[in-house]
Subunit: 438 residues, 2 copies
């Protein structure tokens, strides 16, 4: 039994569609972990109406698996794929270049595109959607955010009847793994990173993940899909997780919390509040129990309240599921009608990161009388109220960590005050300031 509006059409029922094909030919561009998983699903699971016809990869001779049927054409030449009768190009090489160029050429050459390329979609999504539409084609990118979790279709289809106000999630498995390890093993950020690299959970150059650039691209895509706003990905401030130390997790524990890299976006008076940064998250939040490479997205709607989507955020198979789901979605649309659909109702808005939050401030000072008084004075001058002060015993007086939590106030006020505080003579290292998620 199915919601009939979401089903594959019985070919005999449609006498009006002029789209001649019942089976769409699929070309996979990039035969890495995800690409080979997509091929495996198309071959083993064999969804009706989709046929794998081409695989493009450099040095494909080395990659060729004996489980791929002999009638699949292997090549290393994009021109051959673009000139072929493939109906849909699955772009899995990642990066802006040449992926963007290849996708544009495919769309102009009357091929639809499925891609997992978050950086490209975060930057050029709107342009590529227009190009697809002009050429009567589709472009789908469900795999670009949160791997196998069907969050883009969930926001756009399943929650279409709501007015979504807020999104909040854990979108980067690498950061989540590193933070979990600092917490559970009490090791430094550097050690946790090395470990993640050794296990293949982090790249040799981890900048994109650790500095929040990866999560920011995903948040840009989610904000468009769910909040229906168009923003520049680079307008979302992204803060690194590299300044965190095991002591921060100890203090977080005192506050019945943990620390996670949180991506959040919220509509507020004609602008979009958005940020990617490490935050304190209370143990009772679903975000606190996200483990390792898992991802979780929580949406808040005006009518339906909170909805949670969670699952495997990365990995060959889960990401491949998202790709194949997009292929099926295109197949269903094509079988109904060959004309591509267009975007509508997307609003361009400015981005601000000036959330109002409680804050966690972790200082390291050379102990001397009057430290709290000096800090309190600066905070008080900015109109910020201190909520609590924690100091764990057992640290040298020359390098004394302690924590102040603040009552809710705008982030900018905190940043400003910390600038003044950084000049105080007893400060041994920069303050670690984390918003607290409420």
């Amino acid at each position: 039994m199915k919601t009939s509006s979401q089903l594959v059409q019985d070919p005999s029922a449609d006498t009006r569609s002029d789209y001649p094909k019942r089976t769409l030919s699929v070309a996979i561009i990039g035969f890495g972990t995800v690409g080979s998983s997509v091929a495996r699903i198309l071959i083993e699971h064999a969804p009706a109406g989709l046929r794998l016809t081409h695989i493009l990869n450099r040095n494909f001779e080395r990659k060729r698996g004996d489980w791929v049927p002999a009638n699949v054409r292997w090549t290393d030449k994009i021109d051959e794929v673009l000139a072929s009768d493939a109906d849909i190009i699955v772009e899995l090489i990642g990066g802006l270049d040449p992926a963007g160029d290849w996708i544009r050429r495919a769309l102009k050459g009357s091929k639809s595109v499925v891609t997992a390329n978050k950086q490209l979609i975060a930057r050029s999504g709107a342009e590529l959607i227009s190009l697809a539409s002009e050429n009567g084609q589709h472009i789908a990118f469900g795999a670009s955010v949160a791997g196998g979790i069907p969050v883009i279709s969930g926001l756009q289809e399943g929650l279409a009847g709501d007015q979504l106000l807020k999104l909040c999630g854990i979108l980067n498995g690498t950061c989540n793994y590193i933070l979990s390890r600092i917490e559970t093993a009490g090791i430094s950020f550097e050690e946790a990173l090395r470990e993640a690299q050794k296990l293949g959970f982090a790249e040799a150059d981890p900048t994109e993940d650790v500095e929040g650039v990866d999560a920011r691209a995903k948040l840009t895509i989610l904000a468009s899909a769910g909040l229906r706003v168009s923003i520049k990905h680079s307008d979302i401030p992204a803060r690194s997780i590299s300044m965190l130390e095991p002591i921060d997790f100890e203090y977080a524990k005192l506050l019945d919390s943990t620390i996670r890299q949180i991506s959040r976006a919220e509509k507020s008076n004609g602008q979009l509040l958005a940020s990617v940064e490490p935050m304190l998250v209370h143990r009772s939040s679903p975000l606190a129990s996200v483990e390792g490479g898992q991802n979780l997205v929580m949406s808040t709607g005006k009518f339906g309240g909170e909805t949670v989507f969670a699952g495997h955020g990365a990995g060959g198979h889960p990401t491949a599921v998202a790709v194949v789901s997009d292929l099926i979605s295109i197949l269903r649309s094509r079988q109904v009608n060959g004309v591509a659909l267009q975007e509508q109702g997307i609003e361009e808005v400015p981005v601000s990161a000036d959330f109002t939050s409680r804050h966690y401030l972790r200082f390291v000072v050379k102990d001397e009388p009057g430290i709290i008084a000096s800090l309190a004075q600066i905070l008080c001058r900015a109109g910020i109220n201190i909520d609590s002060v924690f100091q764990k015993p057992g640290h040298p007086r020359s390098h004394l960590p302690f924590v102040i939590t603040l009552e809710p106030c705008p982030v900018t006020l905190v940043t400003e005050s910390l600038l003044h505080i950084s000049k105080l003579p007893f400060m041994v290292q920069p303050c670690v300031a984390l918003p607290i998620l409420d």
Copy 2:
């Protein structure tokens, strides 16, 4: 930015669709909590392309709100609605009769239908989908399971690329509320139920919820949507939660677990294993932290692994969001092409409840020597291994509760052994046997 295949079509782009209307007229049948929320969203949120034209309710004069525009027609006559130019009927009166009859007449009269009626869909979903299809109409029922959580579209669209093997969830908020209360307040089932009734979380006749009949209907619908199997809802065994006592939660706690009403279905060798019953759930499972009226569904796919959908399982607004999302989905399909789509690839399979599980058995006995030995002998004869024995102090010898947990074995073996055990002279009351979710 949107997955273009999932977007509202720009009317100017489509010159081929012969469906003449750009705005669909909506009639709401039943103006209770959900009905008035649907009206509110259609009026306040005003999704493009949908217009509320009719509201049907008995004694509508009493219900009429001043926030409903004057051009909405109020009536208490279904014939008037069926004869009107409404394009879609939103059926929210519930129950099998007259809802089923009205829906059939609407479909035959070239109206599409959106319904939240789980009992009707669980029984007659396949027939109604065929009827819709024969008449070129749609029937959608996303609101029939898990209120505002977009799980049906998630399973059918977002996870279309996977091969789902297993579903498991908390689908009944009333049971979840009652179980939470027995656990946290240490009160009896009867007290918790009375409390739930007073607060409006349980009906005056709570049978449907407490005995698992409600959850069973929802599981039937989910199994069709996700596992693509057609089953008879009454073939799924449903067990009551009424035999549970506070002591069971104390023992569950010793096992680092809680007790929840779990609905599960799993494909296994050409049959469907399915049941609705109270189960022990480990604290680390997302199912253990579902609170009050929340719902949660976890799907397991061959390729994508576990995916979780969670949110408000009931309530006017969340359920109304699901209804309006279905309306938008029909609107989008209609604008592409007026022909309804058909179901495909649904397999009829037999249902079995013979899961293999660890088990929790709670006995109450009149204490005498040799009790464990007698029990162990019967279990051993059935080839069942005891895993652990717990006995909390502080109970009278005439009414002594204790718990045995079993290693994984087929449920039928346990049921059979319990039949023998029930005849033992020291048994004061029937054993409470709960499978343990692993």
